[in-house]
Amino acid sequence: MAIILTETEAKTLLQKVLSYSKADECEVNLLGEQRGNIRYARNEVSTSGGQINQNLTVQSAFGKKVGVASIDEFDDESLQKVVRRSEELAMLAPENPEYMGVLEPQTYGKSNGFFESTANVTPAKRADAVAQSLSQTREKNLVGAGFLEDSRGYNAMMNSKGLFAYYPSTNVNFSLTVRTPDGKGSGYVIRGFSDFKKLNTQTATQIAVQKCLGSAEARALEPGKYTVILEPTAASVLLENIFFSLDARSADEGRSFLSKPGGKTKLGEKIVDERVTIYSDPANPELPASPWSGDGRAQEKTNWIEKGVVKNLAYSRFWAKKKGVKATPFPNNLIMAGGTSSMEAMIKSTKRGILVTKLWYIRSVDPQTLLLTGLTRDGTFFIEDGVIKYPVKNFRFNESPIIMLNNLEELGIPERTVSTESDRNYLIPPMKIREFTFTSLSDAV
């Protein structure tokens, strides 16, 4: 059997599994995935490989006693075995007071996240994409280290109330660090797409090369508060800490930056600049995502922060019922609305500031305020009177994305980018922020 099942094949397999169930309720999740990669360093391919993964997970329930078992072999005997095992585990389990039962069939919107161009990438095509990058760093006597990984797969689910969901998707991420042989300059680029055709490793490499050459012989500036222009990937590693903290239960329990004294939350309150709108939309053509969540709930276009105001929080079905609200699931993608400024225009309008290519090693310092620390890396430049003047040494920052989005100056045009911390893809604009807090200098290049 193929690893990537069609909708019909997945449906047939899931129906077969459910036919073996003797539990009160049964839910089956199915996935298949194939990945291929090339890694290179010191201008040489260092490793290449692939991964295949398929998994079927059965959740059986007798009343509120729930058992889960999974398997990666799909012959009839294995399928019967995994159903029996989940039922045995359910019998042995204590009652789960938070078990909500399986969902009725849902209606899902359309979202196209599967591209043949990516699904059909061959080792030769992968090697060719990398060759277009390697040839440039070799020719220019620079040192390239990069990673290209493409994936294709599907998720499907079915339950004993007749809910069925299927979503196929593809993705390719490409990242590259280019360094001067003496180690004094370093530049970076990262790209992520659903459609392999959109990936141009040649032009991406030109950006990393340019940043590498431009960053050599960096000067030291005093740490302190600066106006910064964050490229989308730099902004994403800060903003995703807001996204990861959208959980309503943590906010209600008083242990989130969205909590308030007296057991209240900031839902409905303005927490950042009114130009900030952050939403999820599975149907966005630039960042398509599955229109259903892992437990079968429909993913609708949802505003999380609208004009600076917290509009929605994410709920488990249990917590939503307890609170008597709609059970909005955690989103499958996140998009920040932008402005109209180009990067060039943002630089031009900056009297004194710093252009940040990438932020690295982001860690939470204080979850109460979402204070984060980390460092700039691979291309940090001083801007004066509207032009990039010279490269500067890297800084460590201590800053909260909430404070940062209150100090918003300007937003650019959103583009698809990849978080270098979580590997997740986002649609995020470049942004200009005033009074961004750099606390020390780093000698790292």
């Binding site: 990669n37 360093a41 010191r42 040489e44 391919v45 490793t47 490989g49 991964q51 295949i52 993964n53 078992a69 398997i71 990666d72 072999e73 095992r85 045995e88 585990l89 389990a93 204590p94 007071p97 280290a145 990673f147 590259l176 660090t177 360094r179 903290s245 959980d247 906010a251 329990e253 008083g254 242990r255 989130s256 930056f257 308030k260 004294p261 007296g262 927490i271 969540s293 955690f330 499958n332 690295w360 090693y361 982001i362 310092v365 204080d366 979850p367 109460q368 305020t369 979402l370 204070l371 620390t373 460092l375 890396r377 890297n394 201590n398 909260s400 909430i402 200098l441 790292a444 290049v445």
Partner: protein, 546 residues
């Protein structure tokens, strides 16, 4: 599984949402399946010989095979509820070869026949030959003698997988109840158990069977002040260990008494959570630190992470050479500094060593994942940089002809590569207790437990938080502080090392989730130290208002 996935699975990251797409890291199985002897040594040898012979027949000049069965068990609770019981198993085979001077690798899941392992070997040779065309310099592999048929087993006394789930659940629910009784608003607790059953064979003539156990009990206690809306957490002071369930059966001699109890080779979870609940509340009203220079007294439960980031990583030879440039980064500790033989990594007090043999440590094994017998070696001797961590295809670069034995893969399906050994700070040679060390400090902070951590890609500039901070004034502990982080530079920091307590205070800390490589692999590693004093370190105040 990496750190982020673990935090999401277990709900240990305060306030973070349980994301829907936790990657599968093995199939779920019944708990009793974890006790099966999946495959006997004689069968493994047959599978291995089939692969090695097939590789050689196709033209490989070297081949090795790893037959791995990886078991994980998680027991996850919050307050009075069991949130999740997870048992996973992953079994498969990875074959690595050198053909035409180039590495090739192929892996196969659930391989139980000689035909399957032979086919994987042939694929690995084909990949090596294809990649050889892109290669300029052939692999130089340090020679390694074969050890014949040998075995190694972690020196555990109680296999955690044999302890009934009910006993584990009861322990955690008792721990949670103690936290709530002592003033916690919330408590999350987890037992995480690992067993790696690994068989390695190579064309050097080694057939090595190893049984590795790891264990990590931990919790996070949260206290909330409803009036101010402030919350504070205190994580457990346990350490992940290369031990069995005996780690949870602490003897009084395993406890280190002081301002708070810390633990050595045994952990009293109930005692620690009771202290944690009170301390989480105390943190809410602790004094906010005044930024400035302080002498730091760092407990081993904290210092392990600083050693990991500022010594373990920069002295990995593959980073020094640029193989990790696109992800984890390179290193300030370049070859010229090592060649000079006079690079002052730290003060004269500082000797840092790598060790793959220490009993109870996470990195301890008999042989590494390319069949090299493990050992101990110095990295920094009396303050001077003297060596790196390197494996068979790298040691020629540092003029040695024998690997240091620190090669590891996190799964049968991952390619083995250079990973950090246990890297530890040697205890002081002069008798010195923690109390005597604190007596001499005029203006300082005593830090216990690990917290926030961040370091640049060449390992110069770092910032660390902690779990508990105590102000030291004129040789006495003056009370709890909050909003503390220190920032320094690796060389400056280790040169500010003034005193190290003696071996009586030597303890291990460590991590299950040292991430490296693309695709990323996780490795478990321990770091030992005694309480250590660093003079004049820059402390910042991390308190903010939003």
């Amino acid at each position: 599984m990496n750190r982020r996935d673990f935090m999401q699975l277990t709900g240990l990251s305060a306030g973070a949402f349980m994301l829907p797409d936790i990657p599968v890291f093995g199939r779920n199985v019944a708990p009793e399946a974890l006790l099966d002897n999946a495959i006997d040594v004689a069968t493994k040898k047959r599978l291995a010989d089939a692969a090695l012979n097939a590789a050689t027949a196709k033209g490989a000049t070297y081949a090795d095979i790893r037959i791995g069965r990886y078991l994980n068990q998680f027991v996850i609770t919050r307050e009075d509820k069991v949130q999740n019981l997870v048992n996973t198993e992953s079994y498969g085979v990875g074959v690595r070869v050198i053909a035409d001077g180039c590495w090739g690798f192929a892996a196969v899941v659930d391989a139980k026949s000689e035909a399957q392992t032979a086919k994987a070997a042939e694929e690995a040779v084909a990949i090596a030959k294809a990649n050889a065309k892109l290669m300029k310099e052939p692999v130089i592999l340090a020679p390694q003698k074969g050890f014949g048929e040998v075995s190694w087993k972690a020196p555990i006394t109680k296999n955690a997988f044999e302890v009934p789930i009910k006993e584990k659940v009861d322990l955690l629910l008792t721990v949670n109840s103690a936290a709530m009784k002592n003033g916690a608003n919330y408590v999350n607790s987890v037992l995480f158990m690992v067993n790696e059953q690994k068989y390695f064979a190579s064309t050097d003539g080694s057939y090595i069977d190893q049984d590795i156990h790891r264990m990590w009990p931990n919790f996070t206690v949260t206290a909330i002040d409803p009036q101010s809306g402030k919350f504070a957490t205190r994580d457990s002071l346990s350490s992940p260990m290369g031990m069995g369930y005996e780690y949870l059966q602490a003897n009084p001699t395993d406890s280190v008494k002081g301002i708070t109890t810390r633990y050595n080779m045994g952990y009293d979870m109930l005692e620690d959570v009771t202290a944690a609940a009170r301390q989480a509340k105390e943190k809410l009203s602790a004094k906010s630190v005044e930024a400035g220079k302080y002498d730091l007294v760092l407990d081993p439960s904290h210092l392990w992470l600083t050693i990991h980031e500022s010594v373990g990583h920069p002295l990995e030879l593959d980073r020094v050479l640029g193989y990790e440039a696109n992800f984890a980064g390179t290193s300030f500790a370049t070859l010229d500094k090592w060649q000079s033989k006079n690079f002052n990594y730290g003060s004269k007090e500082v000797t840092l060593f790598a060790d793959k043999t220490q009993p109870g440590s996470l990195g301890a094994v008999g042989w590494d994942d390319e069949g090299v017998k493990t050992k101990r070696w110095d990295l920094v001797k009396d303050g001077t940089l003297v060596n790196y961590q390197a494996i068979r295809d790298q040691v020629h670069i540092i003029g040695e002809n024998e690997s240091q034995g620190c090669c590891y893969a996190d799964s049968w399906g991952s390619v083995q590569f250079q990973r950090m050994a246990n890297v530890s700070l040697a205890p002081g040679k002069t008798p010195l207790s923690v109390e005597d060390m604190i007596k001499d400090v005029k203006k300082g902070i005593y830090i216990i437990g690990d917290g926030s951590f961040s370091i640049d890609q060449q390992r110069y500039n770092f910032q660390f938080g902690g779990q508990l901070f105590y102000e030291i004034k004129d040789g006495k502990i003056a009370g709890m502080l909050k909003d503390v982080s220190y920032q320094s530079n690796t060389q400056e920091f280790w040169n500010s090392c003034a005193q190290i307590c003696d071996e009586r205070d030597y303890r291990l800390g460590g991590s299950f989730f040292d991430g490296k490589g693309q695709p990323s692999q996780s490795s478990a590693v321990s770091h030992g130290s005694s309480t250590t004093r660093f003079n004049g370190v820059n402390v910042i105040n991390t308190g903010r208002k939003i």
